[in-house]
Symmetry: C2
Subunit: 387 residues, 2 copies
């Protein structure tokens, strides 16, 4: 299998981006990514675009995005894996190069979710459960699904509302230092705990926002890395992918996500590393409970000990394994198709030791992991990067 490196990264500011349309938003990510890689649109061979795209009227987003960025005539595909769409696009670009079909791919992740009313977004996302049963009959929406996970975790392992709030406090602390984050402000534990109830035990600050945003990475073969004389290529060392039933009534338990466990195991095996080798990670904290479950599912601690990690500060800088130093979905924002690609952008910055002041993880092995979930574990993609 040919080696594949990330050689350029870029992202737009995440947030309420009614100031830019879909293609303008993509340009904010693509331009810096190409410049960072030192390549031009004409050099690119294939462009996987991760986006779900419920929210806007444009039916072929990949086509208009490619056109606006000077990529017309290049191979194109739109990849959808719900909130893991960005990572599925990254995998598609990866295999295009690993197989030998291409030497340079541009992977774009993008979503513009603030085009429509928040209640409509909630309904559309809610449908991602088992539509005909859970959504239509019980009116389940995403905060409700994750609230079920939270109550199960609290009942079985004694996780508390304070533990959940501490995840929000940590991620807002780092989001405040990230100029691309949707929320660039720190919050206190009191603020988190006293924020409006959404679906018990999840409060407003336990939920990620609905965001617009774009991210892009340039992937290159080893030959191309040499040809371009890239200084600090960041190699994709391992990938993993799994899925699970859309019918949550069929899940075995609610204290974790089976697809995360399977995808992480695959990625570690391929990379030949374990959780203890990681210097930094991004995990899919669409809700605070999701970050705690992710700690356990990807092996940063034993099952049931996720809350201990956050209580002890082990996932902050200075702790055992810093997590979501970009603010995570919680504070950086979650434009769903962009998220997986934005995780790659963040980890490349971390591995290059070029993250903004106050949010750079100390590097020992120069190994990082991205964990990206679609739905409530309907999809999971895990990617391990190594400098």
């Amino acid at each position: 299998m040919r080696k594949v490196a990330v050689i350029g990264v870029g992202m737009s500011r995440f947030g309420v981006r009614t100031d830019a349309n879909l293609v303008e938003l993509s340009f904010e990510a693509v331009k810096p990514a190409l410049e960072d890689a030192g390549v031009e649109p004409k050099d690119i061979e294939y462009v996987p675009v991760g986006t779900v795209g419920f929210w806007y009227e444009e039916p072929l987003p990949a086509v208009v995005i490619a056109e606006y960025n000077g990529l017309t005539t290049k191979g194109l595909v739109r990849c959808e894996a719900a909130c893991a769409s960005g990572s599925s696009a990254l995998l598609t670009g990866y295999t295009m190069i690993a197989s030998g079909l291409a030497d340079l791919c541009l992977v774009i992740g993008i979503e513009k979710m603030r085009e429509i009313d928040t209640r409509m977004v909630m309904e559309l996302i809610g449908r991602a459960g088992y539509y005909m049963w859970e959504f239509e009959n019980f009116g389940m929406t995403f905060p409700a699904y994750y609230a079920m996970h939270a109550t199960a975790h609290m009942a079985k392992y004694g996780t508390t509302e304070e533990d959940l709030a501490m995840v929000a406090v940590k991620n807002h602390k780092y989001g405040a230092l990230n100029p691309y984050a949707h929320f660039q402000k720190a919050i206190t534990l009191d603020e988190a705990l006293s924020s409006p109830m959404i679906a018990w035990p999840l409060k407003l600050y336990d939920c990620c926002p609905i965001s617009d945003g774009a991210a892009a990475v340039v992937l290159a073969s080893e030959d191309k890395v040499k040809e371009l004389g890239v200084d600090t290529p960041v190699w994709i060392a391992g990938v993993g992918y799994s899925s699970d039933t859309a019918n949550l009534s069929k899940r075995v338990d609610y204290v974790g996500l089976r697809s995360s466990v399977i995808a992480a195991r695959q990625a570690y095996k391929m990379a030949g590393v374990g959780p203890e080798d990681l210097d930094v990670a991004t995990v899919h904290d669409c809700f605070t409970i999701a970050e705690i479950m992710a700690y356990e599912d990807i092996g940063l601690c034993k099952k049931g000990e996720g809350a201990t990690l956050i209580r002890e500060g082990q996932t902050e800088i200075g702790g055992k394994i810093p997590v979501n130093l970009d603010g995570g979905l919680k504070a950086k924002g979650h434009p769903i198709g962009a998220t997986g690609v934005a995780m790659a952008v963040e980890l490349v910055k971390q591995l290059r030791e070029s993250a903004e002041k106050g949010r750079q993880a100390p590097m020992k092995n120069y190994i990082a992991l991205a964990h990206n979930v679609g739905g409530t574990g309907h999809y999971c993609y895990v990617t391990i990067f190594r400098r």
Copy 2:
């Protein structure tokens, strides 16, 4: 690059399939494909699903399709490249195996377009042009776009309404012999020419129908082909992909599709063959003029000579290069996400010399080509198969 073979194929009957829901329809393709390959769902590693999915309420089709077919926990992604979505899924499965990441992939193409009113389908497809300009301002729909191509081709090369009608007559002739086709009846030239006008010069019989349908293929690595003792693997010898502007006012001309030319050239180069080596082909005849342009764009004849091929019967059995012996999009039907995968199903049957009576191409080199367009050349994927 590792070699990749198609080792199993299956498809549902195409047509108005209100008798089956989305997942049931997928099962009609997946079950025979797995049986043909002699593998079980548990053996599959990754499942790319080609579907556009405007038409139904299920937001994560890949997840529910995987679940219904016993593929939960497998890697999943939905691939969209408009009417070439099936081919983009095929390429994704191909690179997963060619790269060495997987040994067995199941590629599914599916669309259920008869869920909603025909006028709504026309509007949704019409938006695939440049939405904000051509669709909103001029009310362009797909027959109108292809009518522009037809008039340009008629003006420049003297192609006639009779030539277009002859494509319909040929494809209906073969569709009548295909038990999976939407329209299993032959038509006369008179019937085609006297059918209701849709967008001059395109009449009802110049247009493919709006169909429901599913198709599936199992892809395997060379190691897996040996391990399973597959009798007649059909190898993917070449792939090509390109895109073009969504803004038709920016196209250089209307007598062909640039993306078809580029994608075909790539695929021939990779396979080390030329158009003269093909025994059979499927081309994207969403409208009759599209088949004539495809003849030229993929090099079956010189530019401007497409009409001569159909007039002389060169694309029928007994001619130089038989095309669309399954009935094509015109008669077999065009459930858009399924089409690219259904082309693979058809060509594998042809290369195995197992097509139904009266529609088997004579084999000399055992090489076949599939040409699949998205939009009006917004996307193009070409795949070359070799037994």
